[in-house]
């Protein structure tokens, strides 16, 4: 294993953790948004928080798609494959939350892999 392999493995580990945290964080994000909607006009702090999150989420979906490619091409070590597979039901279950928040959905390719891994026939695709 050369230095390049070590760097790639470390990045995959990091990206898996980052994406998992992002997906698991969505219910809390939705709760905060609903609380904000019940209040008065959106403050500048909340506006900045919302727009920054939207941009960072876009990047998270790109990161998830690169993980999907690494998974499909056999680049992941066995523990990383298991971690990715554990993410698949979460990816599918988060679909309604992603829609409610107006966020970018996972790519169709990612949803297809998630459906196959999770053994689900029905998946909602939304923009």
């Amino acid at each position: 294993m050369d230095q390049g392999d070590i760097v790639r493995i470390a990045k995959l580990d990091r990206d898996l953790r980052s994406v998992e945290r992002g997906l698991r964080n969505l219910p809390d994000v939705l709760t905060r948004r609903l609380e904000d909607r019940q209040g008065e006009a959106e403050s500048d702090d909340r506006l900045a928080d919302r727009l920054a999150f939207q941009d960072e989420w876009w990047n998270l979906i790109d990161r998830l798609d690169l993980l999907r490619i690494a998974y499909a091409s056999g680049e992941m070590a066995a523990p990383q494959r298991r971690t990715f597979e554990a993410l698949c039901p979460i990816i599918l279950d988060d679909g309604p939350l992603i829609r409610d928040l107006g966020l970018r959905a996972p790519t169709p390719e990612t949803l297809d892999v998630a459906r196959q891994v999770a053994g689900r026939d029905i998946v909602t695709r939304s923009a």
């Binding site: 470390a10 990045k11 990091r14 953790r17 980052s18 945290r21 992002g22 698991r24 964080n25 809390d28 994000v29 905060r32 500048d44 702090d45 506006l47 900045a48 928080d49 919302r50 727009l51 920054a52 939207q54 941009d55 960072e56 876009w58 990047n59 790109d62 990161r63 690169l66 107006g102 970018r104 923009a127």
Partner: protein
């Protein structure tokens, strides 16, 4: 809104009426653009603004005060973005990048007259995004590309990070409108 907002609004409004042709700042002069960049880098970027610890921040130690942070703890947006993008996502080397290093690099990107500059509407607000490859001599897609975004008229810094897809991230997002490159390096 601060008394500085009028000139910022005027510059952004004039940038906004430029054509969609790349590298066209319209009738905004280089010195006006420079003034805006200096304001964003030296004032907006570093002015503490309130944020809240989310799932990527909770569990880390505060980069300045050292205490363990919990979900929804108040935190400055600068510290929150540093924890997320440097300590948590590893977009920078966490061992060698301090909070001030992180902010200094973002500031450099904004102040560099060679940085890419993209203008777009997001949620009804004009947003400016600066972008630059970290190594000028190696502008290939493998090099980290740093983006820094603002809502200038509101004096809001949004975030600074290194997108996975480099420069192509900037103009690829479908949630924004009227996007155009004000300045882009070839």
């Amino acid at each position: 809104m601060s008394e500085q907002a009028d000139w910022i609004l005027a510059i952004v409004a004039r940038l906004a009426v430029t054509s969609s042709v790349s590298n066209d700042p319209g009738d905004v002069s280089p010195s006006e653009l420079r003034r805006l960049c200096v304001h964003l880098a030296r004032s907006v970027l570093v002015t503490p603004r309130r944020a809240w610890a989310d799932g990527s921040v909770a569990g880390h130690r505060h980069p300045e005060r050292g205490q363990l942070m919990h979900l929804h703890d108040p935190i400055s947006v600068q510290a929150a973005k540093y924890v997320k993008h440097v300590l948590d996502d590893g977009e920078w080397d966490a061992d060698t990048t301090s909070l001030s290093d992180y902010l200094a690099e973002l500031s450099e990107v904004v102040l560099d007259s060679q940085s890419d500059l993209y203008l777009e509407q997001d949620a009804g607000h004009w947003k400016l995004t600066f972008g630059r490859y970290s190594a000028v001599e190696a502008e290939d897609e493998g090099e980290p590309y740093t983006v820094v975004s603002f809502i200038p008229a509101k004096g809001l810094w949004l975030s600074g990070f290194r997108p996975e897809r480099g420069r192509s991230y900037v103009a690829s997002r479908g949630v924004v409108h009227d996007g155009r490159w004000i300045r882009v390096t070839s």
